[in-house]
Symmetry: C2
Subunit: 247 residues, 2 copies
C-alpha cells in the first residue's frame, strides 16, 4: 500500500461541490472514478476540506491509498488527467508517509475572493468573480479588516446549518488588493487561517463589502455576539478560490 498526495485545480461552476453525492456530479465522484481507472481498484479520496458548489480551486490537496506500487508519480498525473474532464486537472502527485492526512494534517489554508467593478457584467468573468457596480470605500473596509485577524470564536460568520460545535479559528492574515488586469478593475480579498467554518469566508467578505458601501457594522461587536444574524450577507460562491493548502 502506498499513500498518494495530489494537488489539483478545478472550475467549480461545473460541479455540485466537492463531496460525493448519489445523484449529482461532484469533484470527489469524478476524481475517484478517474483515479480508479488508472490504478485498477476503487479509491477513497480525502480532500483538505470540502468546497461548496461553484467554489473554484487554484490549489486543492487530497490523499488516497493505492495497492499498486509499480506505478510512478508521473504516470498518475498523466494517466488521471487523460481520464478527467477538462474542468479538473491534477498538477502534482507525491508519494507520502501513511501518517499524512490531507484534512487532519493541514496547518494553513488560503482563500481568495474576487470581485470586479464594472458598469455592466463581463461575460468572460461570469461564474468567475462577483460583479460590483461601484467601488466600495476601501478605507472603511481596511479599518475593520484587522479585527478579523487573530484567534476568535467565528460563530457569527458561520452558516447556521454547519453542524459544528467548535467555532474557534485563527485567521493569520486578511488583506484587500485592488488590481487592474487589462481593462478590468478587480478587488481581491486574500485570507489565510488555520481553518475556516462553513461559509465563513463568504460571510466575512459579504460583511466587509457592506461596510465598504456604508453599513455601520463593527467586526469586534459582531464577533462578540456569536450569532450569525448580526453579520452581513453571504456573497455568492463563484467569486471564491481555494488558493493554497500548507502542511
Amino acid at each position: 500500500m502506498r499513500r498518494v498526495k495530489i494537488s489539483f485545480q478545478y472550475d467549480g461552476s461545473f460541479f455540485c461541490g466537492f463531496q460525493k453525492q448519489k445523484t449529482a456530479v461532484t469533484i470527489q465522484c469524478v476524481l475517484e472514478q478517474a483515479i480508479s481507472k488508472i490504478v485498477g481498484h476503487s479509491v477513497c479520496v480525502h480532500a483538505s476540506g470540502r468546497t461548496d458548489s461553484g467554489v473554484h480551486a487554484v490549489c486543492q490537496v487530497a490523499h488516497f491509498d493505492i495497492q499498486n506500487t509499480n506505478i510512478t508519480e508521473d504516470n498518475i498525473v498523466r494517466g488521471v488527467n487523460t481520464v478527467l474532464p477538462h474542468y479538473i486537472r491534477i498538477m502534482d502527485v507525491e508519494f507520502v508517509s501513511g501518517s499524512f492526512h490531507a484534512q487532519k494534517s493541514v496547518k494553513q489554508k488560503t482563500y481568495q475572493y474576487w470581485c470586479y467593478i464594472s458598469k455592466t457584467e463581463n461575460p468572460l468573468l461570469f461564474k468567475r468573480a462577483l460583479h460590483l457596480n461601484k467601488l466600495p470605500n476601501l478605507d472603511k473596509i481596511r479599518e475593520q479588516i484587522n479585527h478579523v485577524v487573530g484567534l476568535h470564536d467565528f460563530s457569527s460568520f458561520c452558516a447556521a446549518n454547519s453542524g459544528r460545535t467548535n467555532f474557534v479559528r485563527e485567521v493569520f492574515d486578511l488583506k484587500i488588493d485592488q488590481k487592474n488586469i487589462f481593462e478590468n478593475q478587480f478587488l481581491i480579498f486574500t485570507i489565510t487561517g488555520n481553518g475556516f467554518l462553513y461559509k465563513m469566508v463568504r460571510n466575512l467578505v459579504g460583511t466587509l463589502l457592506e461596510i465598504g458601501y456604508g453599513k455601520n457594522f463593527n467586526i469586534d461587536e459582531i464577533l462578540k455576539k456569536r450569532d450569525r444574524r448580526f453579520a452581513g450577507k453571504t456573497v455568492p460562491a463563484h467569486g471564491l478560490y481555494l488558493t493554497s493548502v500548507k502542511y
Copy 2:
C-alpha cells in the same frame, strides 16, 4: 429611424461564431432576438466583422436601426442585457448618424491571442487561453515579428476557403508580452491593423510560435510566396480575443 451603435462583450465558447445560422446558436441570432424584444420590431445587426466559433470579444462593435425614437440609450443597455444570456453583454449604446457602418467605417482593429505556460492544463483557463508546455524562444519570435508589420499581401496567412480576392492588409503593430498574473505565466500577442483576413491572426500566431520552438521560418519569405501552405499551423480559436475596434 435611428441608427444605434453598440459595444458588447462575449464568451465565444458558448456560440457557433458570430454569423446567423439556421440551426446553431450564434451571437448575431441571440443579439437580434434580444434587441427585437426590447425595441418592438425585428432588427438586423451588422458587426465590425464576424468572429469564428470559440473566439471571444472584450470589445466588439455593431450597428442596427430602430423605428422607436422614444427609447433612450440607457434603456437599450439595461433592457437588452436583461434578455440576453450571461455569455453576452452590451456595455454601451450610442445613437449615431445614418452614415455610420459598423463594418465599412472601421479604421483599426486590435486582437489579442492569449497563451499560458504550465506543466499541466489549467481548468480555469479551459477555452480561454492556449496551453503551452514550455516557453518558446521569445528572442527568435521578436526577430521575425517586425516583418509582419506594414502593408503586405497576407495570402500566405489567409485560410484557403476565405472567398476573398483582395489579400492586402496593413498591420500597424504586433507585439508579444510576457505577463505573470498571480501564479500563471501568460504570453500575449497583440496585433493592430486596418483589417484581418480569415484566420489571419491565428495563422500568424501559429507560425510565430513554431519559430519560437525552433522551426526555421522566415516571415518575409512566407509573405512573398502568397501561398497558405508555406506558413505554420493555425492555433485554436479559444485563445483569441477581439479587444478594440476604432472608427
